[in-house]
Symmetry: C2
């Protein structure tokens, strides 16, 4: 094994065959590759066998091989001369309902070769999972949805490879993390039963498939690993997130939160994992307030309020004139308003403190954040009392979910050693602001860890991890899914969380110091 | 598990999914099938996954599955309703250089559904392995040879299925036993290095391939097992023979002989197996004497000579007028001539005993077996002194090979508990005659066991054997291949065996009693 080798990129120098040692080419190669692998099951595809005798002799039995670990066996997917400058590339795919993101890696050292993203072409059929599943039930609907994503991915792979001066055939392993419905459509599997009681996917652990079988145009022998799901509503994207965060390896209990339309939450450690999902409200995505929008140019992502003058200090993503506010900006805003006492503990505007910023529009109180002459839109950017009420319901729902899942295993939120926040939301949110409004628990600020695109991160990590399949299967199998019952206890917690930061101030002692 | 089930045909009644038990369809099925299997790795093909949700619900989660055991995992290749009358069929193939023989089985009980054979269409390219391998080196030659056999097999499968009122899609498992060159051409693998020193196949253990990948038109998910080889000159047909005879499971040491152009010999028991091959002479195939031919209608297969009158008592395969003599007939003839003292211990005609049967043709002594007026050809059927000399060289070579391999492991031929004789030759040969001329050792007659087409037998047995892959791999791995060195010792043995029955009469004490 060369110094630069990994378990899946292996340089081997075979003993040349003689009359006394007439082992066949494939078996000779397999025998050399077995050294150091956990199994003695190594498999070569027929495509590769057809080229093998020629290639081995051309390179005088000194070759570099690329392998991928399947369940209970290793697959040799490629072979090259030791001096071949082309890398063995791997492709990680975050298969989002809205956006698909690709990352190309050099499998020998994990180096990132390139990254790109494209809108999921299934958006043409419908924006959400439900619409697409219903479309899949129409004649040829499933096939059409499958073709859209496969064709789109093939095009994106070609473009990404081109920009990295590679070819799709240089890709030997692909990992795909997506929600249960998206991975079903990706495989061409009937998603009909995912949305019907009792919500049954076709498969939980798709494992390793041949790229060619899926229509993915990469190397002919390449394999595609599809992250497993726990059920219809807890998909491979979240499993990838847990894998990426390493939640399943921690000795102390930690939590992982992925905020989208739903808030998906996992609590656990090396011994157990418990998960739940609940509607935390679209306010957190920037989708609720009139001026709310997804993060982008001109979008306000940071807000401070001068304690004495109550002047707004805004930061936009690109520094340009503001045109709207994203989820993290809204949380910042609410926190700043609360800490400067411009809103009270119920989230209601305090007219005396808001002063001239406050306007009545159509009978509803609005706070002007950016006056028309300073905004990119030419209109006032405002937040209304209704927006704030909605935010408070969302943050209360979030906190209640966090409290419920933690309580269900006999812990309190204070017992959590790390708090991983996935997704775009996680990258932009200021934990201090989120704590100030009581959306996230009052943990030491350094326990908050943004993960970024953890679905992509997990998919990429799988490409360069030993025993990733066993590890990921293990995560899946260990997850206990908790159905959130909106019972009296839940409602009591929710009511208590509808104040800033919370009815029980003891839970948020840091906030007092920030006022 | 139903009473009628086997490990590979399994009837399972799944617990129907509920909100509390939302395991996916595939994982639910796999979980039920795992019970009783040696591994927990059960795999479903994508093709099958696409149909699974519909089929499970149609049959209310009560289904019959067909599985095949791969290395380290089981593959589900088919699923049917419990009341479906169509059998899960398996196909065994003896992939001969000259003839291909098929046997169709019901996998649930091993019942033979039908059998057929066809000439290997590669005969159009050339009669033997060597010619075909050279042809494979010409442009498109390999592809052409591959297409010939695959197309021929597909046609034969279709015809055989039709005659059994099945369809090719009812076939879920295929096993193929053939020599190393034939299996390479079957897989489309380059056979070039098989015939060039140091004689290296592309692969020793091809294992389990997808039928579709090979172009075999049976069920889309079906798998094809190709018997492994020990090297270029010891192929899967012989491994199948050992498997069929059960040589590898015997506590006493036994021998297996397959006589074709070469004599292939295996000696062994449950602990070890040693093999060799050598040219035993085409005389034994009926290919040498002028009147020699392959067994068929009008061909003499049994000959007796009246001890007093020296009249010939002939038996032809179909009872019709004789037109030639097959290998077993020639051995019978030689034995009868020797026992009636019409030839001496050197195999030379004794004119006094042969009398009027003896003629000089072109200066060479010929014995008339069938006069012109009684033969199917209108000419005398004769055997010449040269024919006899050739037979004696062949039988001496055979005995020498048997003696050499047995001696190499410190045994004598008398130590062998069973003597398996494979192939057509084995089915027709009279052990008493073969012993009389000293071709086979003087063992009790009931230790001789004809195997028939043991290559087909082994292929069929694999279809209905638990752990056949492990067992067959085990046979392959245990075989030690003995290079026959034609050294002084071999030549000494050969010289001693060139007498009838042998120079050392003590080795053939039974023969004296038969004279």
């Amino acid at each position: 094994m060369d110094k630069t080798d990994s378990p899946w990129v292996r340089t081997v120098r075979l003993v040349k065959p003689t009359l006394q040692d007439n082992t066949a080419d494939a078996d000779r190669l397999i025998s050399a590759l077995k050294t150091g692998l956990q199994t003695d099951a190594v498999h070569l595809d027929l495509d590769l066998l057809k080229k093998l005798p020629h290639l081995l002799r051309k390179w005088e039995y000194h070759v570099r091989c690329i392998l991928v670990e399947d369940r209970y066996r290793w697959l040799v997917t490629g072979i090259a001369g030791v001096d071949d400058p082309r890398p063995f590339a791997g492709l990680a795919v975050d298969l989002g309902t809205t956006k698909v993101v690709l990352r190309l890696l050099d499998l020998s050292d994990g180096r990132i070769l390139g990254e790109s993203g494209f809108d999921n072409p299934q958006l043409a059929v419908g924006p959400d999972v439900l619409v697409r599943i219903h479309f899949a039930e129409t004649p040829d609907g499933l096939q059409r949805l499958n073709e859209l994503i496969i064709t789109g991915l093939n095009q994106a792979v070609q473009d990404l490879c081109w920009s990295c001066r590679l070819e799709p055939r240089d890709i030997y392993t692909v990992t795909v993390a997506g929600n249960t419905a998206m991975t079903h459509l990706f495989m061409g599997l009937d998603p009909r039963w995912i949305i019907r009681e009792p919500y049954i996917p076709v498969i939980n652990k798709p494992g390793m498939l041949k790229a060619a079988e899926l229509g993915i145009q990469v190397n002919a022998a390449a394999r595609v690993f599809i992250f497993p799901n726990v059920g219809s509503y807890f998909g491979g994207d979240l499993i990838a997130g847990i894998f990426f965060a390493g939640l399943h390896e921690l000795s102390d209990t930690a939590i992982l939160v992925d905020v989208g339309t739903n808030a998906e939450v996992v609590v656990g450690n090396e011994n157990w994992l418990i998960a739940c999902a609940g509607a935390a409200g679209p306010a957190l995505e920037g989708g609720m307030t009139k001026m709310g929008m997804m993060a982008g140019p001109g979008v306000v992502d940071r807000i401070a309020i001068h304690p004495d003058t109550h002047a707004f200090d805004l930061h936009t993503i690109d520094g340009g004139p503001p045109k709207g506010i994203c989820g993290s900006g809204i949380i910042d805003l609410a926190a700043a308003l609360f800490l400067s006492e411009m809103i009270d503990i119920r989230g209601k505007f305090v007219p005396a403190a808001c002063g001239q910023h406050l306007k009545q529009i159509e009978g509803l109180a609005h706070l002007v954040i950016v006056p028309a002459d300073k905004s990119a839109t030419g209109s006032d950017l405002t937040i209304s009392q209704a927006d704030l009420d909605s935010l408070i319901r969302s943050k209360a729902a979030m906190y209640t979910i966090l409290e419920t899942i933690t309580t269900s295993v006999g812990l309190t939120l204070k017992d959590l050693s790390s708090f991983f926040v996935a997704g775009t939301f996680g990258s932009f949110i200021d934990p201090r602001a989120a704590i100030a409004i009581g959306m996230l628990p009052d943990l030491p600020l350094d326990s908050y860890k943004p993960l970024g695109n953890s679905s992509l991160g997990g998919a990429a990590l799988a490409l360069t991890s030993v025993d990733f399949l066993k590890e990921i299967d293990g995560i899946r199998d260990r997850i206990t899914y908790l159905e959130l019952n909106v019972n009296q206890e839940f409602m009591n917690r929710f009511s208590a969380a509808k104040f800033l930061p919370h009815t029980n101030e003891l839970l948020f002692q840091s906030v007092k110091k920030w006022i």
